[in-house]
Symmetry: C2
Subunit: 523 residues, 2 copies
């Protein structure tokens, strides 16, 4: 083979032939990669959480054309260090508090490496019995850890977006309209279909509705109470109103741990509404519970209340890759009756038929045929930490969030603006020294000068908080995110990483105060 | 922490506290895992390709309840060896020739480990700029390797099933019916929609249609020619007929490398039909090309013909996890115009808004929000082998298939029953000694005794081939799969693994002959 002369003496024997990396070279590079990872995880705290790169900078630093000749593995590792790492946002940093804080733990990382090496496709039981059976087993373990009733069956999807889409596809099929065969288009016999979820639900519900041909109009957002929980009475009213106008309710999606505030919808009360509606309608209405983030905390006995009513649902999703220390991606979808999924999706091409009986062929449960061995990493994580170790860690994250909330509340310029049931603190700066702009002299005087002043103060406060977030995140020392609650721009601080200690949180709280103080002069 | 006394002296320090596996323990276990993988890959040939486990056996060998206490990492590795591995189907075995033969190469495995360690979620550019930009870059490298025109933009999905679903969602949106907002249900203004693909297309097209609310009725299967390629004339006729009956064509899916035979649809002629239909209809008809497996061989100059016409398509999928030595999952979806995807799917919740401009936020391109850093493994694979090394390997797999076909054809009892353009040989046993059952004496005599004899011979031949496959696969020495072509049960032998040499193939061919000879006495 004609290889680049500069490299040929540093190439592996396996690189030059027709095969894979040879075993000795794999050992050499593999050990180097393990050390690289250990060094990275050990030193991640010294890196800026958010990278300081401009759009296009990373890509621009790499060759625009693919390499013609094989390159030494070490050269790629050097470029990873020098060119790629400067553009990484460090989700592993102990002061990463944006979105939801996650951890791809040691056993999870090693499980992912093992799964990649085995490289099985668990589409059928026979294409790797252990992949299917370990998936069934670890999801049953997870069910037991969460205290859910016997009978739930699980499947691992990549993300909760996909889990929710599969659940809503099953719901659509259960509507009795034979959507699998006949579709929804061009059918005068099909009414408008509706899915109900709270205005604080994750955007994946609407995305699923788009994908499934229900459209955004097919999702009705139900208002929340003062603690950002879906109002069951408003749900009942909305469903009845829709029915009067000829809509057919097909599903309700409750959330356990909403994305903005980790609020917990009253699942039991929502299930009551579902039951009433079903009695009136005479056809199924599916109840899906999105516990992608927050459901996992049910592992702690004293937090089990968050799952109250979930056993009455038809499906439930919770993501080990969010708050169970498993590298992304790993989403656990539980269904009360898997035939709801297989009736929607099973479609066996001749080349996939087998003679096996009484086995689970997971390809029948959803859209994707290819299925990697995600159960392996979850199995290693569950064994490594054990039920006790997992509960202890989750409990600590909840306690950390409580301590952060108390710490921020103690500052008279900051306000915690939502309950903190789990690991996420929503707060804003509202200092007495905030400069509120005078009314615009060119505008006509407002009817209610006091109300107008409140609005002007709100605009100024939002701008202050936006700038505060920019400065905190720009420092590289911590990363927070934001949301909007009751029209107010709000900062979010999420705990949940195994690397975060009280010391880190104290430093982040001090940073928030420092940056806020720095704004006093300019805001 | 109260841990199990039997284990406590073998637990890692990190296991006992509130954190992750400590760095020194990670190093220790990580090096052990690398050696385990190297040993496994080196010795995989000595294992049976297909495991000899009964349904439920693996699961039954493991505890039904999750571990209460943390367990030593080594204990899990021991159970992996002793309990899980006996139930693994070895896709890495050099004599794995079922479905499509794949390789999760050394650089790909290490890339997966690195991605799991970084554990970034590339939903937004800002949540890891390098993840987004490396994804853009490596897909542009792949575009160049395939000789596709400048302007295609790529996104990595998990599987081709998902890539095709996203493409058809974009097609549906382009139909001008505002499905994203209004959905398909309860709309008298929406006609029946139709997607066209060949009867040899992958089942994922129908699964996507189910998911998207088009239904199986929304897919019209077009007949193939004698080489299993979609007939463009039959396509044109079917579309025109549908239009007369009020259907609205929204997409055509052509296949480059069908699953049964790796046949290649005439994409250019299909694009001509599309253009004619669009001119008549006055609205878009999307052309999607499914090259999930076979598209990749376009990397070889002399095989580039398989992609003829693809540059006229709207989308194209090809899977590095199939024939580009990347561990599952990694599916490359190219679109001519990404706004077709973003118009269908972009939906930015407040908590995901950023102030970045001019960047790619891949979450807007599809259903899934969570996106792991799949580009990293593909980048390492492309650099490790280089364009030249990749082409040489793919070329060898095509040549291997040619040699296998010639070798099997040379046996008078075997027949190769489909062209072999890529890496897959479809054949059947049709020996002269095949015992054809006599007519059933209780049945009335057939009108055409000669035709009835042919049918009886076909039934006997199918049964013979079914039993032949059972015996080959039951031997554990090789794994083939099957399909049905023109009503005949046919065996498939797929090359494409980096571990397969001519010696392995010769042994498999000899095994086929040996098992067939063994059937002479009983068939």
């Amino acid at each position: 083979m004609n290889t680049d002369d500069r490299h040929s003496d540093r190439l592996d024997p396996g690189q030059l032939g027709l095969g894979d990396m040879d075993p000795e070279s794999f050992r050499e590079h593999g050990h180097a990669v393990i050390d690289w990872i250990a060094d990275y995880l050990e030193g991640v705290e010294d890196r800026p959480v958010r990278p300081r790169v401009a759009p296009g900078e990373v890509r621009g630093s790499l060759p625009a054309a693919p390499p013609e000749h094989p390159e030494p593995f070490a050269d790629a590792m050097r470029d990873l260090d020098e060119l790629v790492m400067p553009g990484i946002t460090h989700w592993n940093h102990p002061s990463f508090h944006a979105y939801f804080a996650i951890t791809g733990s040691g056993p999870g990382i090693l499980g992912e490496a093992l799964a990649a090496a085995l490289n099985v496709n668990g589409m059928l039981w026979s294409t790797s019995p252990s992949a299917t059976e370990l998936e069934e087993l670890v999801l049953d373990w997870l069910r037991q850890l969460l205290g859910l009733r016997d009978g739930w069956r699980g499947i691992i999807a990549d993300t909760a977006s996909m889990s929710t889409m599969l659940a809503l596809a099953a719901a659509r099929e259960r509507s009795g309209l034979d959507v699998r065969q006949r579709g929804l288009a061009g059918r005068p016999d099909v009414p408008m279909l509706r899915v109900y979820t709270s205005e604080h639900a994750h955007s994946s519900v609407e995305k699923a509705a788009i994908a499934l041909g229900l459209g955004r109009d097919g999702v009705r957002l139900i208002e929340v109470d003062e603690r950002y929980r879906m109002r069951a009475d408003a749900l009942a009213e909305a469903v009845r109103e829709d029915m009067r106008f000829g809509y057919r309710p097909i599903a309700i999606v409750a959330t356990v741990g909403t994305t903005s505030t980790t609020s917990v919808d009253p699942v039991a009360a929502i299930a009551d509404v579902r039951d009433e509606v079903v009695a009136e309608l005479g056809h199924d209405v599916w109840l899906h519970v999105d516990g992608a983030y927050g459901g996992m905390v049910g592992i702690c006995e004293e937090m089990r209340w968050v799952l109250e009513g979930v056993d009455r649902a038809d499906s439930f999703v919770t993501n080990p890759h969010k708050w169970l220390f498993t590298p992304i991606d790993c989403s656990a979808l539980f269904v009360a009756d898997p035939t709801a999924l297989t009736q929607a999706f099973a479609l066996v091409a001749e080349y996939l038929t087998t003679e096996d009986e009484g086995v689970t062929d997971y390809m029948d449960w959803g859209v994707q045929l290819g299925r990697r061995f995600r159960a392996l990493k979850l199995w290693l994580v569950l064994r490594y930490f054990g039920a006790e170790g997992l509960a202890t860690r989750l409990r600590e994250h909840v306690a950390q969030a409580q301590r952060v909330a108390a710490r921020l509340e103690a500052n008279e310029d900051l306000r915690v603006v939502a309950p903190v049931p789990m690991s996420t603190v929503c707060f804003l700066a509202d200092p007495g020294w905030l400069a509120v702009p005078e009314p615009d002299p060119d505008s006509p005087p407002p009817d209610d000068p006091a109300a107008a002043a409140v609005v002007r103060r709100g605009v100024a406060r939002d701008e202050l908080n936006r700038e505060l977030l920019r400065r905190i995140n720009g420092s590289g020392a911590a990363l927070l995110s934001h949301t909007v609650l009751d029209g107010r721009y709000v900062l979010r601080l999420a705990t949940g990483s195994l690397r975060t200690t009280d010391d880190h949180l104290e430093r982040t709280c001090a940073l928030i105060e420092h940056e806020l103080a720095g704004l006093r002069g300019v805001a």
